[in-house]
């Protein structure tokens, strides 16, 4: 008769620990993945790239799962990986010494009948922004992060966050003035308020 060989205590404990880690990680994935995918999409402008960024970010998080002691920091950590990974993608263009954005990423424009295409125009504008400005804008106006949180995520100073956001918004303002679709529903009161803010 052949005796069944039971795994050692160490192996069982190891397997149990791995199981618990996977369960905890899957729970995090289930809860946060939709949000991470949306953020990655807004940063990259491409669905497949977004999925790839999130998969890589989650893989790196999985490898680091035991090292992250403060679970409240995980979202920030993953956002940082997504931004860094996207920057790595961008680095491939360094050798070409340019990153062409004259041609917008291929996607089907869907005009929202409720806003006469304004959202599409704003989205297309966001896609023309330089990499860092775009990340700042997405984290500030989509993720609603503070300037300090954005600085931490992007590894830049708060001053740089402010200057990047300011430049992006100035460019957007210019587009608003240039683009009647964007400018058409601005009330006179809004315009003067905007101008006053500009003067400040």
């Amino acid at each position: 008769m052949q005796l069944a060989v039971e795994p050692g205590v160490g192996a069982r404990v190891k397997a149990q620990a791995q199981h618990e880690k996977d369960a905890e990680f899957e729970a995090y994935m289930a809860a946060r993945q939709p949000s991470l995918l949306r953020t990655a999409y807004l940063i990259s402008g491409d669905r497949h790239t977004a999925e790839d960024l999130v998969q890589t970010a989650l893989a790196k998080l999985y490898l680091s799962w035991d090292k992250v002691h403060d679970r409240q920091m995980i979202d920030g950590y993953v956002r940082r990986i997504i931004v860094n990974e996207h920057n790595s993608l961008w680095r491939r263009a360094w050798k070409k010494r340019e990153l062409a954005t004259d041609t917008l990423p291929d996607h089907q424009t869907v005009t929202d009948r409720h806003d006469d295409g304004q959202r599409d125009a704003l989205w297309e504008f966001v896609q023309t922004l330089p990499r860092k400005q775009r990340a700042v804008i997405v984290l500030r106006y989509y993720e609603d992060l503070s300037e300090a949180e954005i600085a931490e995520t992007l590894g830049i100073s708060v001053g740089t966050v402010k200057s990047q956001a300011s430049r992006a918004l100035a460019a957007m303002r210019s587009r608003v003035h240039d683009n009647p679709v964007l400018a058409q529903d601005r009330a006179p009161a809004d315009r003067s308020a905007s101008d006053r803010e500009e003067e400040r």
Binding site: V13, D22, E26, M29, L37, R38, T39, Y41, L42, R47, A50, Q55, T56, L58, A59, K60, Y62, L63, S64, D66, K67, V68, H69, M73, Y77, I81, W90, R91, R92, W94, E98, L99, A100, Q118, D120, L122, W123, V126, P130, K132, Q133, I137, V138, Y141, Y142, D144, S157, V158, G159, T160, S163, R167, L169, M172, R173, V176, D190, A193, S194, E197
Partner: protein
Amino acid sequence: MSNHQTDDLTRALRARSEDMTGTHVAFEDVKGRARGIRRRRRAASGIAVAAVALAVAVPMGINLGGVDNGQRPLPADQPTTTTEPTGPVTPTPQGPVEIDAAKAPRGEDPAILYATGTTLHRPDGPQVELPKQYSYLLPYADGVMGFYGPDGITDFIDGEGNLTDQGPYTGMSGAISSDGERLATWVSAVGAGGAVDLALWPRSGANPENGYTSNVVAMRGDMQLAGFVGPETVAYNLTVSTNQGATQTPYVTDWTSEPRELTSLMDVRGANDVTGVVSGLTTVDYGKNEYCFAVVKAVSDTVVWDTCDYRLGRFSPDGKYVLGVDPESDGLGGKGVTILDAETGEVVAEFQTEDRAFMQDAIWESRSTVLAPVMQDGAWFLVRMRPDGTVEKALDASREGYDDSSPWRFQYTP
């Protein structure tokens, strides 16, 4: 910019983000990619070579307690009084030195400036209280220059911690020559994106005019200084963003002539003014997730040697060694650091943290010692490593700081 416009922007982003509704990344796919990353990390770090267990190291193993909750008592450390190697030496060709930071012997305190919070620690004087917490420090006169992110202003602080002056926008980038006599900073009166002015400061603070000699090297852009490559010559990256895209270009310049582009590199990460070389990125193959680096002669812009196994960084002050880090460092840090011969690229010593620990940016403390923060078991350790393979702690363990950020802020080093 009115609230109306930023609200529109927020609504536009939220609406567009719905494009991702229904997409899903499977857990098994994530685990599969994690396995691939781990394989590449191990291949690159040489972990396949049999690691040699040291008296200062423990074998890799499973922590049966699961995730440390940060409540484990910290080991009591008793500083030794010697700067000589205190740990056993491992012949590095046999494999990486495995670091158990908790068990490493305690050596002397760091021989460079560093701050914990608002307290400045000086190797040659008493600690002083700074006006605020700075992100970066440069030794200057008998005190420091402190770079602080939110306002972008350089604070000048004397040896007693008093704020004596405030300078122009720094761009949070600085460098110091290997002899410690000269400093370089990025100065811009209008902040990031404005004219890029490179400032040369005598460390002694003895310039009677405005304190520095300056040279406008570009009309706009963001500068990242890599270091000195000659007595009064520096290497830096200049990033210029426009609505048509962004470019990053490495340059070498002094304070008298036009900047010269380093065409053999995509960026520059380290520089040495004794040997006149720089390190930096040469190629990226994102499909293979492969990053290649090289040591380059700054004068001739020619490659001395290159590697795709390490991400090259800082040189030792005498230019003899260069640091290589994990090619797969993530947002927290890497698994270790390697000291390479700067002339040949041969591995001199390789250090690897425990399985559940990680190491952040390593800096040269002297021509033969490297310091790096290591997070292990929920505590931060400052580890000192030497080319002979020895390891020790340079400070007592700390539970201050964050999981992804150590409590110590070090001065810029050569």
